[in-house]
């Protein structure tokens, strides 16, 4: 067990020493001692950001941080997936990219079909402006959107946009949504994908 005494060291010294110790650490456990609450908090936050688990023990004026590096690998593996839990795909046109329309239409179709084969799946797909055409009657990606929907991807079409394009009665897949829900989704997503 490695013990590092950072008492008397000013911030950010304890954090730097922690970082170095974690990098060099052959063993999986480390005890770090600091003598003030802000150092304790900083180190605690840092090691958690590195995927370690930490328990703080107060002894008189000092803080003993029991850091478990063992969690680094385990949690680091789980972390990307965890973080990517809420990938939001935001489609604001029925075309992908700026340029030729026919090409844009082909690329959008290819993009959506490719999503079917890739991980992680987005939790939600938002269609806005002419993007709503993709989920409406006459679209040639309805089957693809249905497959995505079956795989758990929520498909939201902007109601105002459907109304504008006269497609409100012609939505074939997903649900009709509103700006409140759309804006909320954008704010809450861990990652936003705008093809």
């Amino acid at each position: 067990m490695v013990e590092i005494d950072c008492r008397g060291k000013a911030c950010p010294q304890p954090v730097i020493m922690t970082k170095e110790a974690l990098e060099a650490l052959g063993e999986r456990e480390l005890i770090l001692i600091v003598d003030n609450p802000s150092s304790c908090e900083n180190v605690e936050r840092f090691v958690r950001s590195q995927g370690c688990s930490v328990e703080v023990e107060r002894k008189d004026q000092d803080f003993y941080l029991h850091i478990q590096k063992g969690k680094v690998c385990d949690e680091a593996k789980g972390t990307p997936k965890e973080k990517l839990k809420r990938v939001l795909v935001y489609i604001n046109s029925h075309l992908l990219g700026v340029g030729d329309e026919k090409l844009g239409s082909i690329l959008m179709k290819a993009f959506l079909k490719t999503l079917l084969d890739l991980e992680p799946k987005p939790f939600r797909l938002i269609l806005i402006n002419s993007g709503v055409r993709l989920a409406s009657e006459g679209s040639d990606v309805l089957e693809t959107l249905r497959n995505l929907s079956e795989q758990g991807v929520e498909i939201l079409s902007c109601g105002t946009c459907l109304d504008f394009y006269g497609l409100k009665e012609k939505v074939k897949v997903g649900v009709i949504s509103n700006m409140y829900e759309i804006a909320q989704s954008l704010l809450e997503a861990d990652r936003l994908v705008r093809p």
Binding site: K102, A110, D117
Partner: protein, 81 residues
Amino acid sequence: MKCVFLFGSIHHVMKAEKLLKGKGMEVDLIPVPREISSDCGVAIELPLGLKENVLHLFKENKISILECYTKADGREFEKIG
């Protein structure tokens, strides 16, 4: 069973799609499956039964294809041309 055609350029894909759709055929544009090629691209998928007819149409309209595959129910591709 489906049949997948690969072309040398997106322009050929678009021309082929237009031609076949014009003939009332059931064609689908798909991203070129990773199993076949790592190149970025779009391919045309259609029912295998239409293959001979389509090849004839391509020849007639001077649309050259790069490769042709059959696609079994899952994702098994077999090169046939």
